[in-house]
Subunit: 197 residues, 2 copies
């Protein structure tokens, strides 16, 4: 629809997740027409990001050094490892400020449909980390959906032979939610996991 580079930039933005053609057009025109938007900085960050970011050798989280900021932090408990699917989940858990242990990013979940098996995930690296016996608890924090549950149960079976407590995040009603609108499975889990007051 547009001349040359304008259409090229719209197309390129349209390849990003969650950005449709209309949003891509809106973003492109915003960049063109808003002098206060620092397009040079965005271009610079984009050309550097893949060069500067690597993944932590220990846990697989995003890092700019060999080890990520969490693995380098001596105040974090070395006896607790929280296993997550993705580096984005690390950030989500960090936001709660509830967890002061370490992480292990699997890099996905077991999914026969997507052709992802245990060998495609960072499971061998997790076993290596657990080998020296210093870790006391592994918290399985994969998503509470089909693949996440399957991955968690695969890992828990793998860990039964070791002297390690294996736990799973609680499922139940979301805080601020409404009982009336909760699905049966979630409400069932909330009953199952009820706590004595």
């Amino acid at each position: 629809m547009y001349d040359g580079i304008v259409q090229e930039l719209i197309d390129e933005f349209g390849r990003l997740p969650g950005i449709g053609p209309k949003s891509a057009q809106r973003i492109t025109f915003h960049i063109l027409q808003t002098p206060t938007f620092d397009v040079a900085r965005l271009a610079e960050l984009l050309s550097e990001i893949r060069l500067r970011v690597r993944f932590c050798e220990v846990c697989g989280n995003v890092a700019e050094q060999e080890r990520c900021a969490i693995c380098r932090d001596p105040r974090r408990s070395q006896a607790l490892i929280c296993v997550v699917e993705d580096a984005k989940d690390v950030a989500a858990i960090e936001r709660t400020r509830e967890f002061r242990g370490l992480y292990h990013v699997l890099g996905g979940v077991i999914s026969p449909i997507a052709g992802v098996g245990p060998d495609d995930l960072r499971i061998a690296q997790l076993m290596t980390r657990l080998a020296d016996g210093s870790v006391q608890e592994v918290i399985l924090a994969t998503n509470p959906n089909l693949e996440g549950e399957a991955t968690a149960s695969y890992l828990s079976r793998l860990l039964t032979t070791m002297q390690i407590t294996v736990s799973r995040l609680a499922s139940g009603l979301p805080v601020g939610g409404d009982l009336e609108y909760a699905d049966e499975v979630t409400l069932g889990r909330a009953f199952e996991g009820r706590r004595v007051l």
Copy 2:
């Protein structure tokens, strides 16, 4: 939440319109984790776009030369000018393939609240284009909202002294829409503008 450049890129994406913190995070991780996404190309386009794109001297549409592709096209009728608010509207109208005349981009609408008066728009340039008498019809295609209507009526008053037909895009029910869900104003306009079959 993230180390260095990852967070910087998330913040920068978050400054674009329609991209919230979660989308910005998702986009940043997509760029990091999808080797097939050509980040260098996006960076290059971003650093070039403002240098390469200017606005057409005649109509104000986006262009990479002094005049835009539409103004340069000899097959387009020189007797018809469609007045729009924004360059994005040119693309929207071009997609219909219904209009074969020229455009005039105002660069906004009259809006006392936003402090935009007639002098802030490309109205003087429009009058210059109309001065030689070759244009027979001006189609006012500003948006059918408060500011768009006010701008259209301002322009139509300005053009009454000239020997030019001034028209406005039809308002009515959107095609594929539902009478039941149409608002009163739109439905009223559809009655007003009804056509004899």
